[in-house]
């Protein structure tokens, strides 16, 4: 492909901006042009904030011109998952329920992005309230995978991953409750990081499952992801579960390109039956690359992971059933049936009937049941015990190795519609990513090649101990460099150009 500015990495764009070769306004416009050209096919964005983005870009240009010290990412465009509030900008969470809602406040992630001068282009599509693995559950239509428009871009953050793979933005924000950053990254050949729980503020992240949700950085390279990570992370007194500790040096770690002497554990339970052959091939290839780079590779067992999926589908829906109770039409969002003849309770019911999609209703019902008296101990209570066991498995593993690795998901991107009638098949997509959320540790997905059988990207997952997110950047950065030198170019460079219409 002919290399245009939109094909650059965020780090490259940052350098161009710093040297004055391009302005932030030009960069934003180049991306808006790209979005106009291809988003009709991809449908990554639900809302574009041209005015806000160009104003921010102009302000960054003025700061740079005035010689002010700015963040390296100042002026670099970003796509924001529509689950984070941005003052005055529509925030729907992919749900009809919130159609037309413009939040009166910024999420802390957005506050941090604005402070750094990052230019937010718009809000990206997602499975409704982040529940799904394909964006097929969005009330506003499915996002398509730029690698193959008949396939899903992953979910719930499929809009963000597709925007990156389609060169509509060099940076994106996702949120990850059971894999919603990492699985979309895997199936679109991009990089996505779920930071340690509590290291990025959840204030302004519309909650799906409070004890699992975590916002994180997404980009096309490990370094770009690290740069964005440092911008959005940090202690926030508005989030009681936020960890009061300094942000680690992710950029430095991503640039180390050295894993000599590191111990890397391969999780035995996250392989075998049900894993696509090409996924296993590329995963093993990546292990070879790490071995060649000087890492020690060992096999590690995590016996409780077997129960992770079941525990997750009790904990997440339980918390969701409570978190989503507030959508009752009384204060914001849509309101159905308020014709003066109905009680508030009837209007609430009608609104929830119309406002929520099938998957959201399924999970609310599941969670309501699991929390009901008489069932609580058997379901929610047991799930919490499994959670403790999974944490212990990780603790035992991290006593022996520096990081753990696995494929990010068992398969490459599946066809749109292929699993939409089979929720369990859909849920199984997250089998490798879910344990990370249950334990609250960090996880990264980066591309490790294209599966020979379908030519689609395969994701490689790196898991690091809580508050040691630097380790996954160090390993990820090293692996990325090794693989790119063997391929001769980054994986994303071989993505389809997408004919401009």
């Amino acid at each position: 492909m002919s290399r245009e500015i939109i094909h650059q990495t965020a780090a490259e764009m940052s350098a161009e901006l710093a040297s004055g070769n391009v302005t932030a306004v030009e960069l934003a416009n180049a991306h808006f042009d790209r979005i106009s050209a291809v988003d009709g096919d991809i449908h990554a964005f639900l809302h574009l904030d041209r005015e806000g983005a160009l104003a921010q870009a102009a302000s960054v240009d003025a700061s740079r011109k005035a010689g002010e010290k700015v963040n390296p990412l100042a002026g670099v465009p970003l796509a924001l998952k529509d689950v984070l509030t941005q003052k005055g900008v529509p925030t729907t969470c992919g749900s009809k329920m919130l159609e037309g809602w413009r939040p009166p406040y910024d999420s802390t992630v957005v506050t941090n992005l604005k402070k750094a001068g990052v230019v937010i282009l718009g809000k990206t599509n997602m499975d409704e309230f982040a529940m799904g693995s394909s964006t097929e559950n969005s009330a506003y239509g499915t996002t398509r995978n730029p690698w193959d428009l008949s396939r899903i871009p992953g979910g719930s953050g499929g809009g963000s991953s597709a925007a990156l793979a389609g060169f509509e933005a060099p940076l994106a924000i996702g949120t990850d409750t059971g894999g919603s950053i990492r699985q979309p990254a895997a199936v679109t050949g991009t990089v996505g990081v779920k930071p340690t729980y509590g290291s990025v503020s959840r204030y302004g992240l519309v909650a799906f499952s409070s004890s699992l949700d975590q916002a994180g950085p997404c980009a096309r390279t490990v370094l770009d992801t690290a740069m964005l990570h440092e911008v959005i992370a940090g202690y926030d007194p508005k989030d009681s579960t936020s960890i009061n500790a300094p942000v680690g040096k992710m950029v430095e770690a991503a640039k180390k390109l050295d894993v000599k002497g590191m111990k890397i554990g391969v999780v035995k339970e996250l392989a075998g039956d049900g894993y696509q052959a090409g996924v296993t091939t590329r995963f093993n290839g990546a292990l070879e690359a790490l071995l060649s780079a000087g890492a020690e590779i060992v096999e590690v067992s995590a016996p409780s992971f077997e129960y992770a999926l079941a525990a997750y589908y009790l904990i997440a829906p339980s918390e969701a059933s409570s978190n989503l109770a507030r959508f009752d039409s009384m204060r914001y969002g849509i309101r159905i049936g308020d014709d003066g003849s109905r009680s508030a309770e009837e209007v609430m019911k009608m609104t929830r009937e119309v406002g929520f999609g099938k998957e959201v209703k399924r999970r609310i019902i599941l969670g309501t049941y699991a929390l009901s008296s008489g069932y609580y101990d058997a379901y929610y209570g047991s799930a919490q015990k499994v959670r403790t066991l999974i944490k212990r498995d990780y603790e035992a593993a991290f006593a022996k190795v520096d990081v753990l690795v696995s494929p990010t998901c068992p398969t490459t991107a599946f066809k749109i519609g292929e699993k939409s009638d089979d929720p369990v098949a859909m849920y199984l997509n997250d089998v490798c990513t879910i344990p990370v959320n249950l334990a609250g540790i960090g996880g990264m997905s980066l591309p490790c090649g294209l599966a020979p059988e379908d030519g689609l990207p395969v994701g490689f997952q790196i898991m690091s101990p809580a508050m040691k997110d630097e380790l996954m950047y160090q390993v990820g950065g090293t692996l990325e460099a090794a693989l790119q030198s063997s391929w001769g170019q980054p994986l994303y460079a071989s993505a389809p150009t997408l004919a401009v219409k």
């Binding site: 939040p103 406040y105 989030d239 009681s240 507030r326 003066g340 309501t368 008296s373 929610y380």
Partner: protein, 499 residues
């Protein structure tokens, strides 16, 4: 024929338990920084957190935790080393998140007690009320039902929601069943709430104003046939807005339940609302089918770990218990039991104490507050303390003691202050009420009287003392009757060389 209270008690025994909700007087709400001032314009004290906007998160008010621990300590509770918030899930329009952040199986204080004394036929008797738990939670918003005849939700044309109250910190204090109250259940209930209120006030943790809802009492009551050894179905009476109402509500519920059972009906497990006018309760929400609140630990908040050393510091710094304080005051003032009881019952003990602290003599302070001020307050159906300040009563008492006001004039001063004519000295000034005892101003009037009746003055000078009456009369008239007649006579005779 309907049973009266005594007849009801002959056949049935009551079982009583009380739940008291206290609004803490913290400056900010339980989980956000919004102000908590009472009476602000609707929805002006709100933010994304207390409106439950998508994405918002709670942060615990540390002061509220401190207040809750102090309440627990004052009620002889154990402070749990590890407690947690939980979500109580149910739908209601005035509840922004459709769950209330509360405490469930891990409350902050447990297993306390409070002793209360009531007058019985056999003299004063102490009842020990066991406290099961003290826990924290957030208040809900308020619904205002507009249109329709009743102001209630049914039949209203529409409803307005005010979220100023949403998220105000509440502490709920739950008793166990109070054993052996029998026919004194209404008095025990009242005495418990009164004693609790005094304790909360002495701690300074709440405004404890029942009429404003900063202290709310729910009375759980059931009755069972005497000596049956069974427990009846209970009702939960809400909307009890004064101490007097607590007593009336319990009494009314005993009579209602007894008469229902007498007529062969069963008691329905339900919420009932106390009606101030009739003294009866009205049926509210049924609790026949146990509501499932699907409690689970609040994932947005960390558990509360109370540092034992800090708890100990709070314990040491607790104020003197109101019962002990009352005893000390009684000794210091030397007032008989009956007068002391009258002050406590009238809820004027603090006010009298404050007045005494400002220099007033205890019996005088008591008689002004319980007498004239209470009488006027009754006429206006308001609290005595809303009419006049302790400092003003103390000032008036001091003026009487100095001879500058007579009791009769003092009553006019009180009336003036209550009418909003200003503080006592302003009222005295404006109404010209001061006893004219100032020699120089009296002398002016005396000289004027002498000048206008020279012959009479001459008669007095020459020894005709009774003739002075006409001159004294003239002085009294000139001073509007406010001069002390004896003083006028003394000064006049002295001036005319006859003293």
């Amino acid at each position: 024929m309907a049973l009266n209270y005594d007849q009801a008690l002959e056949k049935y025994e009551p079982t009583l338990g009380l739940e008291v909700h206290v609004e803490l007087n913290t400056n900010s709400k339980m989980f956000c920084g919004c102000a908590t001032e009472f009476g602000a314009s609707p929805n002006t004290q709100t933010c994304p957190v207390c409106l439950g906007l998508p994405g918002s998160l709670p942060v615990v008010n540390a002061k509220a935790i401190e207040s809750s621990i102090r309440i627990g300590l004052a009620l002889n509770c154990s402070i749990t080393p590890f407690s947690r918030f939980a979500r109580k899930n149910y739908f209601y329009p005035d509840m922004p998140k459709n769950f209330q952040t509360s405490q469930y199986d891990e409350p902050i204080c447990v297993n306390g007690y409070l002793d209360v004394t009531i007058d019985t036929d056999e003299g004063p008797k102490v009842y020990r009320v066991d406290i099961e738990r003290v826990h924290m939670e957030e208040d809900t918003g308020k619904s205002l039902h507009v249109g329709g005849a009743t102001g209630r939700i049914h039949g209203a044309e529409h409803s307005l929601l005010d979220y100023n109250r949403a998220g105000i910190p509440l502490v709920e204090i739950v008793t166990r069943i109070i054993p052996g109250t029998d026919k004194y259940a209404p008095e025990v209930a009242r005495a418990y709430v009164a004693e609790l209120r005094d304790i909360l006030r002495s701690l300074g943790v709440s405004d404890v104003k029942m009429e404003q809802g900063s202290l709310r009492c729910d009375a759980n009551l059931s009755i069972s046939p005497r000596n049956s050894g069974t427990l009846g179905t209970r009702s939960e009476t809400k909307n009890v807005n004064s101490l007097r109402s607590v007593e009336r509500a319990v009494r009314g519920e005993i009579i209602r339940q007894a008469n229902r059972l007498e007529s062969g009906e069963r008691i329905i497990q339900e919420t009932r609302h106390f009606q101030e006018e009739s003294g009866e309760t009205r049926s509210g929400r049924s609790k026949e089918t146990a509501e499932d609140y699907r409690y689970f630990p609040e994932p947005d908040l960390l558990p509360i770990v109370a540092d034992p050393a800090w708890v100990e510091e709070l314990r040491v710094a607790l104020p003197v218990k109101p019962s002990i304080r009352r005893k000390k005051l009684q000794e210091a003032w030397g007032v008989p039991d009956k007068e002391m009881a009258a002050m406590i019952n009238a809820e004027l003990l603090d006010t009298v104490e404050e007045t005494v602290a400002l220099g007033a003599e205890p019996t005088k302070a008591r008689s002004w507050w319980l007498g004239e001020v209470s009488r006027l307050a009754n006429e206006k159906s308001v609290e005595p303390t809303s009419l006049i300040q302790p400092s003003e009563i103390a000032e008036i008492i001091a003026l009487i003691a100095a001879g500058e006001l007579t009791d009769k004039l003092a009553r006019q001063v009180v009336e003036g202050v209550i009418n909003g004519e200003g503080n006592p000295s302003m009222v005295i000034e404006k109404r010209g009420l001061k006893v004219v005892s100032d020699d120089s101003s009296l002398m002016v009037a005396i000289e004027a009287a002498i000048a206008s009746q020279p012959e009479t003055a001459e008669k007095v000078r020459s020894g005709n003392i009774p003739a002075a009456g006409a001159l004294i009369g003239a002085v009294m008239k000139a001073t509007g009757g406010q001069a002390d007649a004896a003083k006028v006579r003394e000064l006049l005779l002295k001036h005319l060389g006859q003293a």
